[in-house]
């Protein structure tokens, strides 16, 4: 593994640590911290600091050091958790996030002087060094998974646990091979120790062999440092926490220098333990007296390219399996048990492969508090965030591409939806607005809701604006839903002035396009005075989906199942004509327009009369429900989505292509566009 790869892992872990710290501080802010919440925040910041030191990001390390010192004071009870302190730490976390970005992108470090001063002012001891405390206190919270748990710290620290420690104390260190693995450098840790005021009293070089026998992977040197009395054992322990048991530590002048541990050096494994970058652990089995940690929560990092290759192969497997079924059916072997077993296994493999790519949506949600803080600062609107279903998992690609539309919807909700505190009070609401983000799985799809308790959509204003923009005629008769949908029209904006918050040149039409690109849909539910809810319906994955294979004239097409409500074979009385060439289907007393797929795609020989074919009732974004007229439904099965944009070019009304069991290519219908373009008068919405 190259240093660059290790650094990349460090930045991935920075994101995770930042999210963990953000979640912890959010719990503190909400008044629901658990006993270990502050410890968790501390560990998160500490691990960023450790990595920053190891990779030489001085500005990042200096800033994390200040935040970590304050957190250390908090977890020791020297500084109480108050609302202003939590706010301060949240702001510090924002700057820390900027520092991480600057380090990753090799950019200029953010301006943090004022915030550093604030952090220092909030510390128990001004100036950045943790208050001296009894050694017993230093080990009392060792349950945080500190790497020194294996040492008998209680005994080692006993000689420091006098009533008041006033003399400098001694620590002996010996980094083992593991501390130098994966780009680790023990001398950086010694420098950090020196920054605390520790001075080297001697280096044990006895174990260093002659040139002919030296193995440069091993650690032969041992050091004795004298540490100022005001520096706690925990502060020292924290420095070496980063390398865990790869650096043996003995505390006390009488303690023996830890012995050299020569380790068999093995080549790095192809995959890395998740914690490898920050705490390189020996690849050799632990001694019998130190059993390896429990297997719970173990994870590995995999190169995304390899994972995508696996998904691609699974896609090909799905196609091959469909081809086999087709072939066997042609030879009248379609009903054999083995085929059913193969189908079940293929689906299992596909589910497993997809679950590897799945990530909790919490990683997207975790960025929201910062967005809200920035919005509160620029708009003066304070908004409480309520998150539901953060652990809902969806495809990594969807997660990555969801951030932008979600952020825009949130900015929009705060800027245009939620009223100013004064207006809210006047309307009998709490001065603080509420934004609820929720995610849930529902019948093979993900539903994400962004709900605010603001003013709701002012439909009269939206209508007037749409007329003014020429999107609709002044006499147009639109339902509430149709008016709401106008805000997705290109170029539409009801803001009287372009604000710096949401007026960034990105309209709601782009948000809808982003969601569409993900194979999803967006719907609005708004009540004037009560608030607005945007619902994003997204597929679980972008690679493989379920659909109906339909026959339309000489064409075989796929209707994605996500749109399908029901299918039926209508009787003559169920379908009524409307004007010239339009038909409406009566579905249990409700009339919905019939769209002839044959006409829309120009298929030759498609049936024209609904009672001769099958109607598939579908949900669409812009036109509500519609009934697609097809000749017949052949099958309902999984299909692998192949992008037309990549292999050919974008085609209106077509979402992509797939390969059928008989090897032929079938187009996947883009139901929304197909219906919208087939029903005149609805394109504008």
């Amino acid at each position: 593994m190259t240093p660059q790869e290790i650094q990349d892992i460090f930045f991935v872990e920075c994101e995770e640590s930042l999210a963990a710290a953000e979640a912890g501080l959010a719990a503190c802010k909400a008044g629901t911290p658990r006993d270990d919440t502050v410890n968790a925040i501390f560990r998160a910041v500490h691990s960023i600091k450790g990595g920053a030191g190891a990779f030489g990001f001085a500005a990042l390390q200096a800033f994390t050091h200040a935040l970590e010192t304050l957190l250390s004071d908090v977890r020791e009870g020297a500084v109480p958790i108050t609302a202003p302190l939590v706010e301060l730490m949240l702001r510090a976390l924002d700057v820390l996030s900027d520092h991480v970005t600057a380090a990753r992108e090799d950019g200029a470090a953010p301006e943090d002087g004022a915030l550093l001063a604030e952090l220092e002012a909030a510390m128990a001891v001004k100036g950045g060094v943790a208050a001296p405390k009894p050694a017993r206190a230093a080990v009392s919270d060792s349950g945080d998974g500190g790497a020194l748990d294996d040492l008998d710290l209680d005994a080692l620290l006993d000689d420091l646990a006098g009533p008041v420690a006033t003399a400098d104390w001694v620590v002996k260190l010996r980094p083992h091979a593991g501390a130098m693995r994966h780009g680790g450098e023990p001398l950086l840790l010694l420098r950090e120790l020196a920054l605390l005021g520790a001075v080297c009293r001697g280096c044990d070089t006895d174990a260093v062999p002659v040139l002919g026998e030296i193995d440069l992977h091993q650690g032969y040197l041992g050091w004795t440092f004298s540490v100022p009395h005001e520096v706690s054992a925990e502060a020292v322990r924290d420095i070496f926490d980063f390398v865990g048991e790869d650096c043996a530590i003995a505390i006390g002048a009488q303690a023996a220098m830890p012995p050299v541990r020569i380790e068999p050096v093995t080549p790095p494994p192809p995959v890395q333990d998740q914690a490898a970058a920050q705490a390189p652990t020996p690849m050799t089995p632990a001694p019998p007296s130190q059993p390896p940690p429990a297997a719970t929560g173990q994870s590995i990092r995999i190169d995304l390219v390899k994972l995508d290759r696996l998904i691609d192969t699974v896609g090909e497997l799905v196609i091959a399996q469909a081809m086999l079924v087709q072939r066997l059916q042609n030879d009248n072997f379609g009903a054999c048990d083995e085929l059913a077993m193969l189908e079940g296994l293929t689906r299992d493999i596909q589910d497993s492969a997809m679950s590897i790519r799945a990530q909790p949506i919490g990683s997207v949600f975790s960025r929201v508090p910062r967005t809200l803080r920035e919005l509160a600062a620029s708009t003066g609107k304070s908004v409480a965030l309520h998150l539901v279903g953060e652990s809902t998992e969806l495809d990594k690609t969807v997660i990555e591409r969801l951030g932008e539309p979600l952020t825009h919807l949130i900015r929009n909700a705060v800027d245009h939806g939620i009223e100013s505190p004064a207006e809210r009070v006047a309307r009998g609401k709490t001065p603080e607005g509420t934004l609820t983000l929720s995610a849930e799985h529902r019948s093979g799809r993900i539903l994400i809701r962004i709900a605010d308790d603001g003013a709701g959509i002012d439909r009269a204003r939206v209508f007037a604006k749409a007329v003014e923009k020429g999107l609709i005629g002044p006499e147009a008769q639109l339902s509430k839903e149709e008016i709401d949908n106008l805000i997705f029209a290109p170029g539409f904006s009801t803001a009287t002035s372009v604000t710096k918050v949401s007026g960034r040149g990105v309209g709601m039409d782009v948000v809808r396009q982003n969601v569409k690109d993900l194979g999803g849909r967006i719907t609005i539910d708004s009540e004037e005075g009560k608030g607005t809810t945007f619902t994003l319906t997204l597929p679980l994955t972008l690679a493989i989906s379920d659909g109906m294979i339909v026959k339309v004239g000489d064409q075989t097409l796929v209707v994605p199942l996500t749109h399908v409500v029901e299918s039926l074979r209508p009787e003559t009385k169920d379908v009524q004509g409307l004007g010239v060439g339009r038909m409406m289907l009566n579905v249990r007393g409700r009339f919905i327009p019939v769209v002839s797929v044959g006409q829309a795609v120009g298929a030759l020989g498609a049936i024209e009369r609904p009672e001769q074919g099958v109607l598939i009732v579908v949900d669409t974004e812009s036109a509500g429900q519609a009934a697609l007229l097809v000749d017949n439904i052949w099958d309902q099965r999984q299909f692998v989505i192949k992008s037309l944009d990549t292999h050919y070019r974008s085609v209106e009304g077509v979402a992509g292509a797939t390969i059928l069991g008989d090897g032929r290519v079938a187009l996947i219908l883009n139901v929304d566009t197909l219906v919208a373009t087939s029903l005149p008068g609805l394109e504008a919405a």
């Binding site: 980094p175 130098m180 450098e185 023990p186 001398l187 010694l190 420098r191 020196a194 080297c200 009293r201 001697g202 280096c203 070089t205 260093v208 062999p209 002659v210 040139l211 002919g212 030296i214 440069l216 992977h217 650690g219 032969y220 040197l221 050091w223 004795t224």
Partner: protein, 86 residues
């Protein structure tokens, strides 16, 4: 006696590259090691230098400020430089 030059970045990779050179240069006289360009020094290189000093006729090291600083930090100044140009 050939002079062995240390690069600016003296990490383990550099140490591993220098070890064969040092072994090859072993002879009657002390090894001549020019560390004047060394900027970043890691533990593996320090160990190599200590080892070179105690192998055969020893080694004479011409240090850079960074190496002197690292030697002081790690308490190795006397081990590395006593009797040499430091």
């Amino acid at each position: 006696m050939p002079m062995i030059h240390l690069p600016a970045r003296c990490d383990r990779t550099a140490a591993e590259a220098l070890l064969p050179q040092m072994l090859a240069a072993q002879g009657q006289d002390a090894l001549q090691i020019d560390a004047s360009a060394a900027q970043q020094i890691g533990q593996a290189m320090l160990q190599l230098l200590v080892s070179a000093r105690r192998t055969g006729a020893g080694a004479t090291i011409v240090p850079s400020p960074a190496l002197i600083d690292t030697a002081r930090l790690t308490g190795l100044d006397s081990v590395l430089f006593d009797g040499t140009a430091a």
